[in-house]
């Protein structure tokens, strides 16, 4: 592999680690007993809608990570 190719692979790995560490950091709404008094019904709904919207980005992040791994594999082989 050329020096340029190796450099690209290292760069992609750094991006991969940065994205992964960012992704695994978040917290998920729901599942935790709210402090008393808890959120209202409409606050629950808004929170749940936000979480469901975020799923598409979480899946895209996973696809991106796998894509990066495939790219690194191709570059290094």
């Amino acid at each position: 592999m050329s020096a340029g190719g190796r450099g690209r692979a290292v760069f992609l790995l750094i991006v991969f680690v940065a994205v992964a560490s960012k992704m695994f950091g978040g917290s998920r709404p729901g599942g935790v007993t709210p402090p008393n008094p808890g959120p209202s019904w409409s606050e629950d709904l808004a929170e749940d809608r936000r979480f469901e919207r975020s799923l598409i980005f979480r899946e895209l992040a996973a696809i991106l990570l796998i894509g990066l791994l495939i790219l690194v594999r191709q570059l290094l082989s």
Binding site: A20, M23, F24, G25, G26, S27, R28, P29, G30, G31, V32, T33, P34, G38, P39, W41, S42, D44, L45, E47, D48, R49, F51, E52, R53, L55, I56, R58, E59, L60, A61, A62, I63, L65, I66, L69, I70, R73, L76, S77
Partner: protein, 495 residues
Amino acid sequence: VIEIVHVVLVAMVLSGATVLIVGCIQFALAGLHVLSRPYAKVAEIYPAVAVIIPAWNEAAVLDRTIDRLMELDYPREKLRVYVVDDASTDETPELLRRKTAEHPGGVFHLRRDQGGEGKAHTINHGLRTILAEPWAEAVLVTDADVIFTRTALRRMSRHLADPEVGAVTCYIKEGSRPGNFMNRFVGFEYITAQAAARRAQNVLDVQACLAGGAQLLARGALEEIGGAIDTTSLAEDTFTTFNVQLAGYRAKFDGNAVVWAEEPRTIVGLWKQRQRWSRGNFQVTLRYKHVWLRRGNQGHLGSPAFAALWFSIVFMPVFMAMATTGLVTLFFIDRPLAIESFKALWALTGFTYLFITFSSLLLDPEMARRTWFQGLMFPGLINLVLITAGLLGPILTAHFAGQLETVGFAGPGLAPNLILLAADLWLTGSMVAAWSLKKLEESGHLPWLVRPLVYLVGYGPLLCSITVAAYVQEMRGAEMRWDKTEKTGQVGEFA
């Protein structure tokens, strides 16, 4: 003809990745959950809910479960808890007498003097009492050990504002405290089997199973299916789920409504529970044979997509055995093709494993913090070595071909061929190894060895092995026994 045989054998090999490929599709669909507009038809409604808790010797767990139900963010006058005591011989009756006095009009004790017929009969005893009165607008079937988060019921009941919805379930999380490694495996498994798979099923507008630990049924739907649940199988919750949908209602999963449950801590405990589930799935597969792949009045239960989801799980061990057969046959008739098929299978397995693991950790980071190690180790160390070989094979071959040949991992010698044959056999061999682990734990010898061996063999192969055992039991017409999962009451929320 030889070419056709080769194509068939390669297809058999690649079938070994079926479960993981279907898993990837489920995660992709779960990501699109918002596009199915899961909250488009919800409204702030609080139907009168009768909670049924079937209980046989549950004194260790019931006290807290009832207290938590009574503390729900739900109008007090709209909630009643009916504990159906299936002729308990422990302190359950005394506990229930105390609880009914503590919560007059809120907690009811229904006693069956002749017990032991199983959970479904116990639930039906409660249903007869509840449906005899007009009070209940919905029935929540749950288990004695399930701890509801305060907003879980109102998050579930909002879906009943849509008259087309007949049943709702929620995300059951593993909450044993202090949990052991087996609990954490289950915790991770539930991210994939519930948080992801059931969202995917929402997108397909069909649910395979609304968990018996938290199944909210609209009264109309319940009456439509005869006001009782199936008592002839080991999967009464799946039968209810199918029957409600066949009656024309929708079934929904709400992943943001969360309850906590205590799951098995040992291989033997897991084996009993999952064998019951797998036998139940087998019974469902046969009982609803008129549904599969037949569109029409079965709604989406007859869709090819649902059949793919269902049968990928039911036939999981068959795919493993097919892959092994294909690999071993190719090993003896066409070694180069066997090597290429092996590489393709494990590369495919590797990428799908990584996608599912990453997606799971992203889908529920809260549970991921507790179970990430078990998530990574899910296939077992030996399979992980094979996955690594599949993923890094081209890189190793490109840069370390000489070294690999020197240490005997590559080249034409006997050692590389033996390694390849052993690896080919492992897909099926891992199931035998998992069964041996159960036997080891049952024997009581070397208890310290069980945990490292589970990490070595894998939790996935353990589930496959249990499915095979369930097939065998069903084919032998074994007695249908409700082997109760032992509960300690040590369950709580993890934040």
